[in-house]
């Protein structure tokens, strides 16, 4: 579990925001929506795997079955 993942997520957020604005300005609303969705899915994948690791660790630590 490293700190770089925070910067990675923030970078994805800023990047999708910029891409979305550029695409919106050039009248490509539907592609902008897809970019937003793709960014969200990528970040969600990263965070969900982190959450599952955390819960597994806590489960082992506190004998939760």
């Amino acid at each position: 579990m490293e700190v770089e993942i925070i910067f990675k997520i923030a970078a994805i957020g800023i990047l999708t925001a910029v891409c979305g604005q550029v695409l919106k300005k050039s009248d490509k609303e539907e592609i902008a929506t897809l970019v937003t969705l793709a960014g969200l899915v990528i970040v969600l994948g990263l965070v969900v795997s982190m959450i599952s690791t955390l819960f597994e660790t806590l489960k082992d630590l506190f004998n939760l079955y």
Binding site: E2, A10, I14, L61
Partner: protein, 128 residues
């Protein structure tokens, strides 16, 4: 100094969340979740040591080990409940956070019922 590292991670992450929230509020929520997970991972190392020390103490005192298991379970449920409820509250879902806390309370009650039974058994044996 671990606390300096934790504080630095928190501050940097708060700044990044403020920057991202303007454009993409949904990614900001996930970002703060990732920050919370990383900070918790730093703390988990020390929780392991604390749990080990408590286990040693329980061994010395000769209390039934199943009681310690129940107490540890309750603490774990507390941590997980608090973590996910505050995450839901951050994303603006106060009502879901309340439901998570309610579920946590019910589970804690279920786990602690055998302990209550043991206490009542002790009291009854003292009375008779």
């Amino acid at each position: 100094m671990e606390i300096l590292r934790i504080a630095a991670i928190g501050l940097v992450c708060a700044l990044l969340v403020v920057v991202v929230r303007e454009q993409r509020p949904e990614i900001a929520v996930l970002l703060s979740a990732a920050c919370g997970i990383i900070i918790l991972f730093y703390a988990v190392n020390y929780i392991t040591q604390a749990v080990y020390a408590i286990k040693l103490l329980m061994d010395k005192s000769g209390i039934d080990p199943s009681l310690l298991g129940a107490v540890l379970k309750i603490v774990g449920i507390g941590y997980i409940t608090e973590f996910s409820a505050s995450l839901c509250e951050d994303s603006g879902n106060k009502s879901i956070a309340d439901k998570i806390q309610f579920g946590g309370k019910v589970l804690v009650l279920i786990i602690s019922l055998p302990l209550l039974n043991a206490v009542i058994d002790i009291i009854l044996s003292l009375v008779q």
